[in-house]
Point group: C2
Chain length 202, copies 2
Amino acid sequence: MTIRLLLADDQALVREALCALLSLEDDFEVVASVGRGDEVVAAAREHRPDVALLDIEMPGLDGLAAAAVLTAQVPDCRVVMLTTFGRAGYLRRAMEAGAAGFVVKDAPADVLADAIRRVRAGERVVDPALAVATLAAGGSPLTARERDVLITARTGATIAEIAGRLYLTEGTVRNYVSAAITKTGARNRIEAVRIADERGWL
Amino acid sequence: MTIRLLLADDQALVREALCALLSLEDDFEVVASVGRGDEVVAAAREHRPDVALLDIEMPGLDGLAAAAVLTAQVPDCRVVMLTTFGRAGYLRRAMEAGAAGFVVKDAPADVLADAIRRVRAGERVVDPALAVATLAAGGSPLTARERDVLITARTGATIAEIAGRLYLTEGTVRNYVSAAITKTGARNRIEAVRIADERGWL
DNA sequence: CCGCGCCGCTGACAAATGTCACGGTGGGCC
DNA sequence: GGCCCACCGTGACATTTGTCAGCGGCGCGG
């Protein structure tokens, strides 16, 4: 009746600390612990956890992608996303990736323990405040091309470089940037990138 | 002979997890735990910890500022900075703020435990690789004004807005931005902000 | 005292960026 | 088919930004 857990977080200290914390609960057993997204599936296959706790920011493969692969290939293992900041956009994408739960690191420990038990029991668990924020924010208003352009712009590239990488004319790129600026209500490329990023639209 | 600890981290889950982890060690006792930088000093006064573990990113007062106040007002309490990413610039500023130790969250748990014991014994503890990186990176080449301008630019402000907020002429702001771009080797305001931020220069 | 570096400012110029009006395409719908 | 709409793409144009040269002032160390 113990719940077998897999932990994935790129920060070793946090990973080990979570392991210590969760091991305090009688019904939890941490059976695997990895630091990279691309190690998740192999570890899950080998140790057969009931629930996988995945951070979003990880090297190799991000937590959302890892969740998608995991739910497809190891369907017995349920997924709880655990992330640093309550980014509204991530919640939506986590659900699309097949996650059954979404907990922010700001939450107290018993919320996490409770979420794990309920997910294990077949429920879907999301912080209600976060769910409301996501619904209020709605989906991304950006078109596919606009997103491509903003993602490239985020690295600090100039219009010319973006055009080069995306095989577009500079004028076209400027158009997309302009549209994105309008849609985000920003005054800059800089601000547009920041806003879109914060809302999980990238 | 037990070492009394104070924990400060804005993420409740991480804080509680670290508490669980450190409590596993026989010679550690967590006597206080706070989620805001501006609660650190009061908690230290009340509970008299031997060592304070401070995260850098915290609301209210950041970990560096909290460290400075703490070492000045509660000199018996030694400070270990604990931060998410090995930002080279932060190490330097942490040392200037009076911290005795600097541990990154990527490190395994025994490194942290070891660091706490050695700091308690009067040593200064820094990850050697991080120390080398800091020395190699050198200090910030930015002047105070250039930093102000970049910090304001980070929010997505236009040149005109930066000028307004800092009570400067647009031309002057442009000059500082230009200087910053040159010094960081960037091609943009965007990239300059990103680079300076990554190096802990802001 | 003198030189040096940082600050604040100006003005002018080149380059990058943002905005606009416009055309083409393809999918859904009457 | 004809209409509408959203998206993609382009070029022309105005604005913003980045670069450069140079001004005076202040504080600091030789």
